[in-house]
Symmetry: C2
Subunit: 468 residues, 2 copies
């Protein structure tokens, strides 16, 4: 077992046989606190290895050093599910020759498991590991909770390198990834900065517009016919969706409704809902805050799932397929209910699907919460700059000025009208916003393609063009 | 999710697309209480499907109905790791045209994962499952504990059918096999007879010869240099090896030695050792008794492992690679330390490797406990009837008349001599036995090959010939 322990990152990279043109992978559970991706790329660059494909479940501003590795041709191509604006804007400016491939949190493990995006060397940043590579996100100074997105990488990569700052005695049994998949283990002083890994707590909005939308969202859920014993739910970590979770909790407790599970990226608010009996289980692919990390470590009802089990369309079934309701955000929604979460209104990359289109496809009721306008720009438009989630998978748009329901949901429209919820046509929302902000000038994008957006089933759903 | 639930076994088999010439697999955690293998084969025969390969982790006397399916050509070939004597004797008589392939508990998942023995349809007898196929051995009226041997089947089979008598609400999170691998779920009245699934308790021997050998075994472990904090251990469920576990526990408690883990098939004796602090963890691929089932359900330190993690040579490392000491049995041992656990002394099949050669290969010290003779037949011979575990992987043979050490272990011989343990040449043990029993007449086996014994690395290590 000691044979897997190597002294330095560099030694592990050399032993892995990494060569020009290969593919390396990283997961994003350490979020904006991650040290490992930059440290590994630094060593790789120093070894003179070029033309790599970087397959990362998400990229954050802390990974800005990638820009230099792109310029030096260490990285030739990027596959990712999300890219924050620091790197995103640069990609939009056209710094890469090859287009970025955006996937979803379910599409990424699908394509890894099917061999469409093979990984030569997976780097697993592990908050705890034993010397054989049994590793976990639950323990150690850099604890991040679930390692769900890293599991398919470990299972399918040719070589797997675990990087840890907390070596535990063999066997580490409460592990995310078992030793059977791990080739090398490297101990480093720190895999991340705990302040960046998880926020202290995620916070609900105090903005009255956000609170109004959250209340409306809960009204829609209440009257959808889905909110009863066995109810299942997912929500993002945005301020308004968190507020909706809180209001939903109040309602479920008042009405004594016992749901089955909540899933996805888990926050302290969902932990509260578990502990107060709103749900039997949490299905956790990623922890967003310290309370979630503490909970997944201690509470057996708070369960880690792999990205495959979360959302892969190649799985025989996945958790998203069992969802009743998901609450999601948007940067733009068009009158066909297509949603953009990849670019800002000027078309520059500042996000990505993550699990947006996976949960929208799986849930019986997918709800978008978004204000009518942001920074004097309407949310609803004729055609989104980028289709992240197709309108066929979106059921409802909640704004502060009314609720638009996808016309395919005839029964839901009747239910909401009966409940006196202000249902409006989505074109009307667009009109209301434009009356207040004016009609924004939208440029036709004519630049070259800087990113392809791959839907969860492997088909290309849209392309993102360069922005000067 | 309800889409996976089908009403009958027959419907599931039809939906799976099973056709002539395909391969079906079964696991053996329900042991001699299993109802599912016979019930499934009955339906398959009734559907007129022929020429199947049966890949079963082990076969017991309760599966005697297989004989009829072999005669009717429903089953053309058998791959298994163990076969009890009911079917074994019939195979030895030559009822099958194709030779049985015996593998080990580690070699079977190796060959499944490498595609050498592909599985078309895996049948998973699950003591508990939800409607999506998240299933567990820990709950329900037929609880058997670990489902470790079934995990590779579920992961690699083209179609997976879960058969359960205890449907639980979605999501069953403490599961052995997640929904991502499962195609169909069938509820039946009972998957097995609890009296046959696990014995009430496994029992240590009362035979003075067995107790003497057990004491000697513990003396050898004590003086091997391996028995110190961090010690790891595996033992079978035979009477003498269980007695050795008990004596080892007494010694470890007296000397305040804290081991790291015990592994393998788990008995109540190992649970006692866990609970009394002799070990930090149990790594459990199969539960042998009710106390083990109770423990794996309740104690997080009692950990389920897959057959891959237990012993697969295709895994990047496995639990057996970390073992210090394993105690094993034998039907014959030859003067080159080769061990037979497949046939009786007349050459008829009545067993199989199971994890014998996996643990012998992995452990730093592999010890065989066997009496000098059984039923007036010496245990030690010039050449075993069948090589189950090669002599290179066997370190010590413990008998009631002395301890034979494989000559390659020079340091161990010195250590044991220093401790005044009666070390004897293995030829001397043979001579002692023959002096008491006479030299047995051994027939040259000239029949046709009825079974090939495949070593854990995929090479053929021996062949078993027919016996009239």
């Amino acid at each position: 077992m000691e044979k897997k322990l190597v002294k330095t990152l560099r030694e592990a990279i050399v032993l892995s046989g990494l060569r020009d043109g290969m593919s390396v992978s990283f997961h994003h559970h350490l979020r904006n606190g991650d040290f490992t991706l930059s440290a590994v790329m630094e060593e790789i660059a120093d070894l003179g290895i070029k033309d790599l494909t970087l397959n990362a479940s998400s990229l954050f501003d802390t990974h800005q050093s990638l820009e230099a590795h792109i310029e030096n041709r260490v990285i030739k191509k990027i596959n990712t599910n999300y890219m924050s604006q620091g790197l995103g804007h640069r990609i939009s400016e056209g710094i890469m020759e090859e287009a970025v491939e955006f996937r979803t949190h379910g599409g990424r493990p699908r394509d890894i498991s099917l061999g469409i995006t093979p990984i030569d060397v997976a780097f697993i940043a592990a908050p705890a590991s034993d010397a054989a590579g049994n590793c976990s996100g639950k323990y150690g100074p850099s604890a991040c909770g679930s390692l769900g997105y890293a599991i398919p990488d470990a299972m399918y990569a040719k070589k797997v390198i675990v990087i840890t700052d907390h070596l535990m005695p063999y066997p580490l049994t409460d592990c995310s990834i078992p030793e059977i998949y791990v080739d090398y283990v490297v101990q480093v002083p720190a895999i991340g900065d705990p302040r960046g890994i998880v926020s202290g707590t995620t916070r609900i909005t105090r903005d009255p517009v956000g609170l109004l939308m959250a209340e409306t969202a809960v009204e829609v859920i209440r009257h959808s016919g889905l909110l009863k014993d066995g109810f299942s739910f997912q929500t993002g970590a945005g301020g308004a969706t968190l507020a909706a979770a809180k209001f939903l909790q109040d309602h479920m407790l008042r009405e004594n409704i016992r749901g089955s599970f909540a899933s996805g990226g888990i926050t302290g608010y969902l932990v509260d809902m578990l502990e107060s009996g709103c749900f039997e289980k949490l299905m956790d692919v990623q922890c967003f805050d310290l309370k979630a990390v503490e909970s997944i470590r201690k509470n057996p009802a708070h369960h880690e799932i792999s990205a495959m089990q979360y959302a892969s369309p190649a799985a025989k079934s996945a958790v998203v397929d069992h969802l009743d309701v998901v609450l999601l955000g948007a940067t733009e929604v068009d009158t066909d209910f297509n949603v953009n979460v990849h670019t800002d209104s000027s078309g520059r990359i500042m996000g990505g699907s993550g699990g947006h289109s996976d949960t929208a496809a799986g849930a019986r009721l997918s709800m978008i919460i978004a204000p009518l306008f942001r920074a004097r720009l309407p949310i609803v438009c004729d055609r989104v700059q980028c289709i992240s989630t197709p309108g066929k998978d979106v059921d409802v748009l909640i704004t502060q000025r009314g609720v638009a329901v996808n016309p395919k949901n005839e029964e839901l429209i009747l239910r909401l009208r009966d409940a006196r919820i202000p249902v409006v046509d989505i074109h009307e929302l667009k009109y209301m916003a434009e009356k207040l902000t004016g009609v924004p000038q939208r440029k036709q994008r004519t630049g070259r393609t800087v990113a392809n957006v791959i839907y969860r089933d492997g088909t290309m759903i849209d392309q993102i063009k360069s922005v000067k």
